[in-house]
């Protein structure tokens, strides 16, 4: 994360709206971040917080009904709007893997066919033998045993973990600069999750690609990311290094996320869930979007003003909370949420 490292992706004021019959869904609002070579950026938040939509927008994979504004530049090239730029970069310089490996591979083609397709789209002239070799290398890189046989297998012959590995291989086959991993471990067993994360780390160490890791699992973030964006209600509410987020929390929502995660600190501590449910993205509450669920909410939080709830802080650590200093000063910000009454921590 040194200042002189190569800047790959620069996202500014990214806003995505979906017009629907019930009103406009504000999926993401005013998101800005940068990504340099070798970075691992964690994006964390609940379902519907806009974490996937913001990356799909960067990849140009949103449905045509989506209204996208703002800017996303890859090495200075604008990705949004201009359909041509993102089209040639997609799968080449920008790669993406998805949540559910069980359905992300086409069931009627072999893994080899799908790997070669990813190659051929961007290298029309490549001879078939080289394509096969590169495919075998890619499968080897992600740790699939007998990669040669793997090429002739259909996705249904692979286990979930193997399919996600194949997905990673497919994403990495063109040696991308940025890999967006959208909840890559959510649909997998815990033991397999660890293997997939390890695979991602190994792939990154080998290729030096920057990774955007989207997840709702703070444990995954703690293990892999250097920087974190915490998203709520379609906006970034806190950004900072992993240490900033975990130990110098300055946003009640982040504290709530930490408190509802089992086993990060002392063993046997109680879970502290966040009461209520995420806001409707069609009718956002006035003022701070987290206000209705926040234990520290004041009248000032409910009054809206332009820019009042945008990120404030340093380049490395910023929070959207207007009482950020008070949160930061707390010994353990998680205690602002009430603990569950059960003595035992329930894990799923």
């Amino acid at each position: 994360m040194s200042a002189d490292s190569e800047l790959l992706l620069e996202v500014e004021h990214l806003t995505v709206d979906f017009p629907t019959d019930d009103g406009v869904v504000h999926a993401t609002r005013d998101i800005s971040y940068t990504l340099s070579r070798g970075d691992v950026l964690g994006v964390v938040g609940e379902s519907g917080s806009g974490k996937s939509v913001s990356s799909l927008a960067v990849m140009g994979l949103l449905p045509p009904t989506a209204r996208v504004s703002g800017s996303a530049k890859f090495c200075g090239q604008e990705l949004l709007g201009s359909h041509g730029a993102v089209k040639s970069l997609r799968g080449n310089k920008l790669a993406m893997i998805f949540q559910d490996p069980m359905t992300a591979l086409n069931p009627v083609y072999t893994v080899g066919v799908q790997l070669r397709e990813a190659l051929r789209v961007h290298n029309r002239e490549m001879p078939k033998r080289e394509m096969t070799e590169r495919s075998i290398d890619a499968l080897e890189l992600v740790g699939i045993p007998n990669p040669k046989d793997g090429l002739d297998s259909f996705p249904h012959e692979f286990s979930g973990g193997m399919r996600q590995r194949a997905m990673i291989a497919m994403a990495m086959i063109n040696d991308p600069d940025i890999l967006i991993a959208d909840e890559p471990t959510t649909a997998l067993d815990v033991t397999v999750q660890a293997q997939i994360l390890e695979t991602l780390e190994r792939v990154q160490a080998r290729t030096g690609a920057a990774i955007i890791l989207i997840t709702h699992d703070l444990g995954v973030i703690a293990g892999m990311a250097q920087r974190v964006l915490v998203m709520y209600g379609g906006a970034v509410v806190e950004s900072g290094s992993v240490d900033d987020i975990f130990y110098r929390t300055s946003m009640p929502y982040t504290a709530g996320l930490l408190g509802s995660m089992p086993g990060i600190h002392a063993h046997g501590s109680r879970l502290r869930p966040i009461p209520g449910s995420p806001p409707s993205l069609i009718r956002m509450p006035p003022g701070c979007s987290f206000g209705p669920r926040c234990p520290m909410v004041t009248d000032a939080c409910r009054l809206d003003a332009p820019g009042k709830f945008s990120l404030v802080g340093t380049q490395t650590h910023a929070s959207a909370c207007i009482r950020r200093d008070e949160v930061l000063a707390m010994d353990d910000a998680r205690t602002m949420f009430a603990a569950t009454h059960d003595t035992e921590v329930v894990r799923d």
Partner: protein, 388 residues
């Protein structure tokens, strides 16, 4: 794959045996083949003769076995008039097959094409129009549609052919259709603005009117032969003419029954294709393909359509087996000497058991065979089944 085919064929054999037993028992209890004879005076001899040919005095098991063993050799026995059923059956099958095959090909091509476009351009003007037309055809009773075609497609059209010309109303209607069509074609890309579509429509209107005018001048003061046939599949007047006139006559006769059957199947296929495509277009692997950078055309055809095809092909194969025996209404309206006619003849006042059984067993075999074909194609298209 071969094992799967053999296994499915082995399952088909007991199914056909059960079919044959059912067909025999049902027909044996469907009515009295001697009823018409009984009412006539001095019919003792005729009754005795028919009883002997149909083995009516034998126990039912023996009758079944006599019928079944003969059928295995391709002998369907004789009908009540004493004619052999075999040749009648083959002729009827040939006629029905022509109509069913042609209509299925047309319906499948049109239905799949329209269904795919509808799904890719969901909620577009094209999609709404196609949906409207499909539901219209789907809801239309076959006999009524066939009669409408007969009146307007054949009789009125033939009258018009004797003194052709496009009148003012014709100009206007055809012009508007042309306008709609061009604006739809031109506006197929989402990016085209409304104003450009309007201009395209106007150009289409003018173009169509000009073409109409030229055609009208060409047609004026000529008279044509009443080409479209409404009865049977050939006109005996052409029996001794050359190949081309006979083919023309034959096509003129096939046109309406084929249209009737095609239009109804088309409605189903286009809806089914649309639904199947919508499902695969929103599938995760289609998103994966886009994320890989695959072009939109390849995404639609290589990924979405290839997978959507699996259920479509199955339905088409099953339908084909079913329509083959079930085009009775269409065949009746157009007086075609096909399978439907054969079946209706067998069910006259005194039932003709051998004829009815021949129809039923052939239809049953068809359904079973096309089920088998559907199974095999399904396995061929879907590796998840193939490797089971």
């Amino acid at each position: 794959m071969l094992r799967l085919i053999i296994r499915r064929m082995l399952v088909a054999i007991p199914m056909l045996l059960v079919c044959s037993v059912l067909v025999f028992i049902l027909v044996a209890n469907a009515g009295d083949p001697l009823e018409a004879l009984r009412g006539r005076p001095n019919s003792q001899q005729a009754i005795a003769q028919r009883t002997a040919t149909l083995h009516l005095n034998e126990p039912i098991f023996q009758r079944y076995w006599l019928w079944f063993s003969k059928m295995l050799h391709g002998d369907f026995g004789i009908d009540n008039k004493g004619l052999r059923i075999g040749p009648q059956l083959w002729r009827a099958m040939g006629t029905t097959l022509q109509i069913v095959l042609l209509s299925t090909i047309i319906a499948v091509c049109l239905g799949i094409a329209v269904g795919v476009i509808s799904a890719v351009r969901q909620y577009s003007f094209f999609d709404y129009s196609a949906t409207f037309v499909s539901f219209l055809f789907y809801a239309m009773p076959v006999f009524w549609f066939a009669v409408l075609l007969k009146v307007f497609g054949a009789i009125e059209f033939n009258n018009w052919l004797e003194n052709p010309g496009i009148g003012t109303a014709g100009f206007l209607v055809i012009g508007l259709l042309g306008a709609g069509f061009t604006s739809m074609l031109f506006g197929f890309k989402r990016t085209v603005t409304k104003r450009r579509r309007m201009i395209a429509g106007a150009a289409g209107f003018v173009g169509t009117i000009v073409v109409c005018f030229l055609v009208d001048r060409f047609l004026a003061d000529r008279t044509y032969f009443r080409w479209i046939g409404t009865v049977n599949t050939t006109d005996p007047r052409f029996a001794h003419q050359g190949f081309w006139p006979r083919l023309g006559d034959h096509l003129g006769h096939l046109l309406l029954p084929v249209t009737t059957l095609a239009v109804i199947s088309y409605a189903g296929y286009s809806r089914f294709t649309r639904a199947s495509m919508l499902e695969t277009l929103s599938a995760d692997y289609v998103r994966t393909a886009r994320a890989k950078g695959v072009s939109e055309r390849a995404v639609i055809f290589k990924h979405a359509f290839r997978t959507a095809l699996i259920p479509i092909v199955t339905v088409v194969a099953l339908d084909f087996g079913a329509i083959f025996g079930g085009a009775i209404i269409t065949e009746t309206v157009f007086s075609i000497q096909g399978m439907g006619k054969l079946f209706r003849e067998a069910l006259q006042k005194d039932i003709d058991p051998n004829k009815a059984m021949a129809y039923l067993i052939v239809t049953a075999i068809n359904v079973v065979v096309f089920n088998l074909i559907a199974d095999i194609i399904y396995a061929k298209l879907d590796p998840r089944i193939r490797h089971e």
